[in-house]
Symmetry: D2
Subunit: 389 residues, 4 copies
């Protein structure tokens, strides 16, 4: 039987729920892992809500102060699912206490924080990972495999969008427990940190470092009522952000994110075009990867001209990443499974003392791009990202 890994979860919101579900399911579907998460403690500021959540999900105990949690000797892993402005302090304390650390994205409020956090976990030598869960969509992982197999060849272009529409109405409040993502003081930024961070993480995973950017942002609704105080406040976040970019490998990119694209709900797409092939993905159809094969690396030959076309791969075969763990060909998995797959990768890597990806250092690079994007949006000029090559 695998040894237990005692989890202390911070946050009982949307991410607290998604992560907890992952802890519960990972041993059922990845029984070969050496550690089995145990739901030791749930930490939330509101005791009543924390107790309710703990009962519903099966946590053994409740804390209302994260400082108490990270010091508990019976906790092996601290999972930071609280708002962005709390990540740094918790991560530093958790690392100082020798805990394994998982952190929701974006890693930090800015590069300075992210550097400090990275240094802390590396100094402590603790396993660490940031929940860029969309890497673990099987179709996205398949895209990476196709790149690694040399089926794309020299890359020319990358383009990504992350479009939503849920904040269009001007009467949506900002701030508070459920809408802190709209409050710049808590979230750090708007769509740049919340959505583009995902797009950037995937982009650099597939196509290497982004070296420079020029960006533009917009805030369409400039005043909102605070969810808890009812006070009318200026809106500090970016409702939309778009940028042009260059990768270290010379390819060009466009990125765009918004919460004002009517009809798009979680429309995160990317496309990579290379000399030998292309891949395209859309998170609203996550069971598919579209692949255009021009040159077959096995032979160097080209696909006959009358047979070329975008191949819509239904990524549910047992040969596909993660899918042998789930059901049978044709049967889809969903949003929540990206967290479970990510957790399985983390636990497998930790079991072999190798860094699970994306670790804090990797997420720091994404933070560098985010900060460069926001800086460029302020100045209108191209900005070097400083991403480690």
């Amino acid at each position: 039987m695998p040894a237990p890994l005692n989890v202390g979860m911070i946050g009982y919101g949307f991410m607290g729920r998604a992560h907890t579900n992952a802890y519960l399911k990972v041993p059922r579907f990845f029984p070969e892992l050496g550690r089995r998460p145990a739901l030791k403690a749930l930490c939330g500021r509101n005791r009543e809500r924390a107790v309710d959540f703990a009962e519903q999900w099966g946590y053994e105990s409740v804390e209302t102060d994260w400082r108490a949690l990270v010091e508990r000797e019976d906790i092996d892993l601290v999972d930071i699912g609280s708002p962005n402005d709390s990540h740094r302090e918790i991560a530093l304390a958790a690392a100082a206490n020798g805990k394994w650390v998982l952190c929701e994205k974006p890693l930090a409020m800015n590069v300075a924080e992210a550097e400090e956090m990275t240094a802390a976990v590396e100094a402590a030598g603790v396993p660490n990972m940031v929940w860029f869960n969309y890497r673990r969509v099987p179709a996205v992982a398949l895209a990476r495999q196709i790149v690694d197999e040399g089926r794309i060849g020299r890359p020319f272009h990358y383009r990504a969008t992350y479009l939503q529409d849920w904040t269009i109405a001007g009467d949506i409040p900002q701030g508070g427990e459920t809408l802190w993502r709209l409050d710049a003081a808590v979230a750090g930024s708007g769509v740049t940190g919340d959505l583009l961070a995902h797009s950037i993480d995937t982009a650099m995973w597939l196509n290497g470092p982004i070296t420079r950017v020029t960006a533009d942002t917009e805030t369409f609704v400039t005043e909102r009522v605070h969810q808890e105080t009812g006070a009318l406040q200026p809106v500090g976040i970016d409702d939309a952000c778009m940028f042009l970019a260059r990768f270290a490998n010379g390819s060009l990119a466009t990125f765009e994110s918004t919460r004002y694209a009517r009809g798009r709900k979680n429309f995160s797409t990317f496309e990579l075009n290379g000399n030998d092939g292309s891949v395209h993905f859309d998170l609203e159809d996550p069971q598919y990867l579209d692949f255009f094969e021009h040159t077959r690396p096995e032979t160097g030959g080209q696909v006959p001209g009358h047979l070329t076309g975008w191949r819509r791969i239904h990524v549910t075969n047992s040969e596909h990443p993660y899918m042998d763990k789930w059901w049978v060909p044709g049967c889809t998995i969903g949003y929540e499974h990206t967290f479970i797959n990510a957790l399985a990768d983390f636990l497998a890597a930790a079991g072999e003392d190798i860094p699970a990806q994306p670790d804090f250092r990797c997420a720091l690079q994404t933070q560098r791009v985010c900060d460069a994007v926001l800086a460029s949006a302020r100045t209108g000029e191209w900005v070097e990202t400083g991403v480690e090559l």
Copy 2:
């Protein structure tokens, strides 16, 4: 806290896994239910495999004889996930012992068995349901809602396919623990009971009783090696089945299923065309329902001619069936959630002493259509189904 409902699960194969996952997850996502399943006992013929499964999934105990299981006083619900030829005997015994009964589809080997089983659970007065899980795909439930809202109007046509390709290779064996679906003695039939039963259940749920059919079946690979004995045997199942049908409401239908449609993995589709609108669904893209609106029942007016088109509804809004229980708009659920949704419906209905659908009596009607189809395939003539109107 909800009271426990002690589950005795029979079968540790693909369905044992899918059902068990549902028992574990339903209280987390449907906390309002009055009963919380407890994994009391797992029953399987091979003790070693049963113990392994029980450990991995958290069952408290193991049985190797289902007779022992159904007689245990600490069992409230018996879930029949074993091969088709065992359904009848287990269901009768479970009902006789006053257990709630869940049964995998198809309900029985034939109508006679299904009638006996239906009579038994009704005489015992126990909650009962058959796992036609695909009704609980949110998009399928939305189709039903659209029908109920009068958006389809007078129905003219229904067409359904259920296509797979996994048995094309002639060197796949038949029979045994994992391939009994290819063994007619155990499965009763081939694609008719395994796949078309789903299509028929959905069809009658959406469009009412099927009254008569004419059918044709084929067995492409006529001899296979038995998985366990290694003996070469004739193949008794139907590899493919197609039929024409009439509904009681006068509409026409085509149905087709096969495991020889290269490139189709779990391609279960249906389309319903009515005077006022149409719906189309494809299980390989389960997050979508395609809806064509011609007349708006709210006003009786027609959609302007330049705006008509098939609307691709991404069924992940909080307004969609089941989706308020899961994540946020744009985030998909997958195959396994159909079982969880079905279980939640069953538990909710049982809590209010109303029959959960599809109960045994409902599944008996589907069995009637299946039997009529197979009879027609033998004679080449139209056959009345005898479905209760």
Copy 3:
């Protein structure tokens, strides 16, 4: 310069327009052809309308009696675009006068007529073709090429639909110049001859002879006003027709056609599944052929499991059938081009004294299937088609 081929066109309706456009365009896009159609005479019953049509389209002369037309010495080719009940008589006279004969589909009102017509053109030794224009959609021709290249392998299944929705309203009249397709006395049948004839022609072109069928038809609107007389009449046509079929090669098929599928406008689809691959086509997206490759005949090897998927071939490359005659890759052609491509094939074949396909004999086989389908719909029994093997 190519020699002129003097055309006598009978009919100025929808087909008169489509054919005439083809005569005008074919020499521009297929300049290598040995004959250049000249618009010599247009024949229509209503002189005023015929004169208007002739002026708009550039015909040199007008006839109101087809008998006069077919006897004119300055006419080389007679094109029969008039209603179905006139085909036989005109074709016999044209052949007797040694004219080349083109005929709209369906060839005839029934098999007896079709046999007589076939005998006549063969006895006269004149080039002849029936306008099954959809074979000449480049994507459909590509499907045939893929079959010929051995990329499908042993066929298991064929399925076709031809769905429209334009006759749902009960207040549409029947009969007369523009609605004779709804008048059984003129059209012979409803969707069977008008739509399924196309589906059957394509099916047998791709997959060989259909040997037997069982069918069902329906007339949803049973009385309509005659367009010209205003009299209320019973409706004699089949509004919908569906049938099961067997091919000589052992594969199974479903066919369905209706004009009551709300939201489907010219939705003619087919799918062929074989051991080594599958193709799928949809006439509303005519620029695509979907191809699933399982085994590559070049090597006999299978596509790697993680790369399998339906390839959506945008059939606009210069390597694709007919497309080198039109624009550049990515640029689509449309409905009218199927007639031009067909005409080019006919002229090329006639120039080399080989029968252009589908000739009358070929169309006779389609008529046999249509008649068998209608016969089966009357009796409810399987009917042998008598198609020549």
Copy 4:
């Protein structure tokens, strides 16, 4: 009978063919127009090729010097289909001679030329238009109609791509009769003038003036052999161009074009997101417009949450722009029809003495954006476009 309009066509390449086809077809399908084009003269530098082209297409005469053509008294309209570097001189001369002027896009090599040309045609008071044919795709015209009907509401975002892949191979030559688009001295620019000019024209037609841009360009293949001289030359064109933009109405935009997107052939897409709805178009599927309806302007009410979705409008109904001129619902038209529709609009406007759009002044605005894009790509800074508001 409509009066003849004597056409002098300059150019016998791809565009010469597309325009000539339009002149031939427009009177057949738009018989109500007051003028009927007559193919009076074809002008091309190579006499032999010009004569061949004239014979194939039916021109009455041939010129090899455009100066002779524009001075001929029997010419009413001069159509400039020659390479970009010849547009200015020909247009000035044609206007000076009082000819109607049609010009291929891009209008000119730069803004200075475009201003001079605009001034010339306006001073001469002659009907003029630039062949931005893609406005006349029925689905694009429908998008404009939907905007005009108030179905999009306040615009937030616009995004456009125009992707091709035909120049990836390094051994494609540049320059000469068929590849002058790759020669900067003749074409002026690469994808910016050739492809993005289309995207910009459509964007401003749908969403108003673009006020400022920041851009980046790339040349992937830096040396090519000249097609005629065989000399190795540096490549001067932009192989790829991407830019961010702002519209006068405050909305944000991304634009991208390349000839290095493997698998994309003529992939010109746009999407417009507004408060009340969105539209999306893809030129490889030109028969569709995707429309997301959130608010119905007729009532101000919102589409019920369970029925929202992207509606795929098959733009072939008689209610759709241009489609009543062609075939029947469900039957597509193709690439060439965009020229015919454009020509019909031009002739209709000229007949009523109103400027056909896009006239030279309109195309001048597109030129301003193109020049600003290229300037920004050189400096890395945001550039004001100077488009007339």
